[in-house]
């Protein structure tokens, strides 16, 4: 009762009007509470404002206000202090295609178009058919773009390739045996070398007879005019049969069989469309490639191949099998220990000296392999960091359910490990993208290399061309890297949905 009595209230004196409190919201409020709320912050604000003033204002002035927008040669850019955009306009084809022949540049455009058409739907999670999309991008697209960009055709198919590969393998075995036999004539341990050499030659000869039906068939096919299509038919039949049997035979093998046949029909259509069976498109040597084309080819190939390499090495480094572990550690430490420039230099100028005489690898491919292995070693350590973050109980729980090591790794451990290290992985991708500019020291003209080559043109020699060119290249690099960075943030948020409550 007393509660109610004490809550009885009658106002005695009325309150006077007061001014509104200091604003804490809106722009003014923000300035007051965040920027100017203490002497230190006032100082920092002033310094920052000055910094912005001294960087942004001149940049805008250079890029837009003082810039020259039209012109046909250097005379237009001599008078002003701003960027010389007509120069970029005139050199744009060179910056994108390098020395790729003008008549064939549609092939590059088509490749870019195909890449975009396949990549964009893959990056948008809402769109369906991710499996088909990914297999097209990771398997079909590289092959198609190879024949599109480089040109050339094929003289055989699966059967000829298998026969050729086996023959190469066998030849090198016999070759090794012969070398040993030759050595045995002069060496101190002659009998041992002689026995070993003869043994290897014997094995090689045995393999020769083992694969003889295959090579014989290949030679017969090459005799006929329609070698590609006959070979194609044989390969299709063989692979279909294998997938049918592996898929479970009459009981469950029909689906794999159907998908194999559809795949081969698609391959046939591509071969026919590009005329690969009789020569294909005119060959454009990779030394003519250049500009953004080389930058994108090297970086996309590097990104796509370095991650699997990194995962394999990281798993290898944690393996319980000593040989695999030692190999992985040695590989990672070697590639991380040498600078990329050394790797590229070695791959380009020294490797040909070590390879057998008739065996050449294209210069671009050599640089590509170098970059992929180099980044792969870094990715391996990133992935290993993620693997180390997965509690042992996860693997134990999966094993207790009866999952094999491969399934435990690919379904439980890796998906979690990779999610932990997305920022690090993308970090490496971004640095790979920028490191592609190093290929210009091994005579490959990427975006930056083409740009520097274009500086030599006297027609556009003006004080501002250098700055304009580098500003343009910087903007291009920034757009790609920023895109990767933002997309990785998006993926990270999406995949880590389970960590939010």
């Amino acid at each position: 009762m007393s509660d109610i009595a004490s809550s009885v209230y009658v106002r005695r004196d009325l309150l006077a009007e007061r001014p509104a409190p200091v604003k804490t919201t809106g722009f003014v409020g923000l300035v007051r509470t965040r920027l100017l709320n203490s002497p230190t912050n006032i100082l920092i604000t002033i310094v920052s404002a000055l910094l912005l003033w001294f960087t942004i204002v001149p940049s805008v002035k250079f890029l837009f206000v003082d810039a020259v927008w039209t012109g046909t040669d250097r005379t237009a850019c001599l008078t002003e202090n701003g960027a010389c955009w007509p120069y970029i306009q005139a050199k744009l084809p060179q910056l994108i295609y390098g020395f790729y022949p003008e008549a064939e540049r549609w092939r590059v455009d088509l490749t870019f178009f195909l890449a975009a058409v396949l990549l964009v739907p893959m990056l948008i999670p809402r769109l369906p058919a991710k499996g088909l999309n990914a297999s097209l991008f990771f398997f079909a697209f590289p092959v198609v773009s190879f024949f599109l960009l480089l040109g050339g055709g094929i003289t055989g198919f699966g059967l000829s390739w298998t026969a050729g590969l086996l023959q190469l393998f066998d030849d090198s075995i016999i070759g090794a045996g012969q070398v040993l036999l030759n050595l045995s004539k002069t060496s101190a341990i002659a009998p041992l070398l002689w026995v070993l050499g003869n043994l290897i030659v014997l094995v090689g000869t045995a393999i020769y007879w083992l694969i003889f039906p295959l090579t014989w068939l290949r030679d017969q096919l090459e005799g006929t005019g329609q070698s590609v299509w006959t070979d194609f038919a044989i390969t299709t039949a063989a692979v279909s049969l294998i997938s049918f049997v592996m898929g479970g035979g009459v009981r469950t093998g029909w689906r794999p069989l159907a998908s194999t046949i559809v795949t081969f029909i698609a391959i046939a259509i591509v071969i026919k469309l590009m005329g690969l069976d009789h020569g294909g498109l005119p060959v454009v040597q990779t030394r003519l490639w250049g500009g953004l084309l080389v930058t994108l080819v090297v970086s996309v190939a590097g990104i796509v191949t370095s991650l699997p390499i990194g995962i394999a090495l990281a798993l290898g480094r944690r393996s319980t099998i000593p040989l695999i572990r030692i190999f992985s550690i040695a590989f990672i430490e070697f590639w991380r220990g040498v600078p990329l420039i050394t790797v590229l230099f070695f791959a380009t100028y020294m490797l040909p000296l070590f390879l057998p005489g008739n065996f050449t690898v294209d210069g671009l491919v050599r640089a590509l392999i170098g970059i992929a292995l180099f980044t792969g070693a870094y990715q391996a350590e990133n992935v290993r960091g993620g693997l180390a973050a997965i509690p042992r109980g996860q693997g134990e729980a999966a094993a207790a359910l009866g999952l094999s090591w491969w399934k435990t790794t690919s379904l439980i451990v890796l998906p979690q490990a990779l999610r932990h290290v997305i920022p690090n992985l993308v970090n490496s991708f971004i640095s790979l993208f920028k490191d592609t500019s190093l290929v210009s020291i091994v005579a490959l003209f990427d975006l930056l290399g083409s740009l520097r080559a274009s500086f030599a043109d006297p027609k556009w020699s003006a004080p501002s061309t250098l700055f304009t060119g580098f500003a343009f290249a910087g903007i291009i690099y920034f757009l790609f890297c920023f895109g990767m960075s933002r997309y990785s943030l998006f993926v990270e948020n999406r995949l880590n949905a389970h960590r939010r409550n």
């Binding site: 207790a400 359910l401 399934k407 979690q416 409550n501």
Partner: protein
């Protein structure tokens, strides 16, 4: 009796020089519920982890449902398919939903079509009373719920034996009951269970036999009534006097 489902004979295990398990002989019959207790470090977890080969051992033999598991750990996968395990720290897969946690093994180990696996998983989730949480991630659930999902996940493989490695030790006191209730239900349905636990009430209520371990060996094994009322060995008496107040 011939219906033994787990038979351990002469099991010995060393961690380096440390002799963790010494001459363990234990036979578990079909439908039997065994509670293993003992002070920490007595080797009880190690013992049940040997049964599904999460730990290797140096001497002895374990036969699970007729499948022989020797020191060389042959037939590991076959044994693991028949043995379900529930861990102290749940070990649910945090990147998969509750339903996916429960369908993963049936799909990838038993090759059951996804739809059937999901139906089975829902059935077991209903049995542990969390079907409405099937699409949540483990991180969004309480410890007790997570442990019940872990039980359901093990059951989806239709195991012949269930191993529980201190299933309630990592739980808040309030959640212990819901997990124990689930285990009691399971016991009443006739599941063969080996439970490492300190829940003596559960042992009294459910177990056919209580096994007391210390220093890597079985000190005493008896029916719960005998075990709690009249422990024989001095070590058992000391242990019981310390945990039962």
């Amino acid at each position: 009796m011939t219906d033994s489902i787990v038979k351990i004979t002469g099991l010995n295990k060393w961690y380096g020089e440390f002799h963790v398990l010494r001459d363990i002989d234990l036979e578990v019959h079909k439908g039997e519920r065994i509670v293993i207790c003992g002070p920490s470090g007595s080797g009880k977890s190690t013992l049940i982890r040997c049964i599904n080969a999460l730990e290797e051992f140096q001497e002895g033999e374990i036969v699970v449902d007729g499948i022989e598991l020797g020191p060389n750990l042959k037939h590991v996968d076959a044994v693991r398919r028949e043995v379900g395990m529930v861990f102290q720290s749940f070990n649910l897969f945090p990147h998969l939903t509750v339903l996916d946690n429960c369908t993963l093994a049936p799909i990838w180990v038993r090759n059951i079509p996804k739809r059937d696996a999901e139906a089975t998983a829902m059935k077991f989730l209903e049995r542990v009373k969390i079907p409405h949480q099937a699409n949540k991630f483990p991180g969004q659930m309480s410890g007790g719920q997570q442990q019940r999902v872990a039980i359901a996940r093990a059951l989806t493989m239709n195991p012949k034996v269930m191993l529980f490695d201190e299933p309630t030790s990592a739980l808040d006191p309030e959640m212990v009951k819901e997990v124990l209730d689930t285990m009691v239900d399971l016991a009443e349905e006739g599941m063969t269970m080996l439970v490492v636990t300190h829940e003596m009430g559960f042992a009294r209520e459910v177990a056919n036999r209580v096994v007391f371990m210390d220093a890597g060996q079985i000190i005493e094994a008896n029916t719960p009534n005998e075990f709690f009322a009249a422990p024989q060995h001095a070590r058992t008496k000391l242990f019981l006097s310390q945990i039962l107040r």
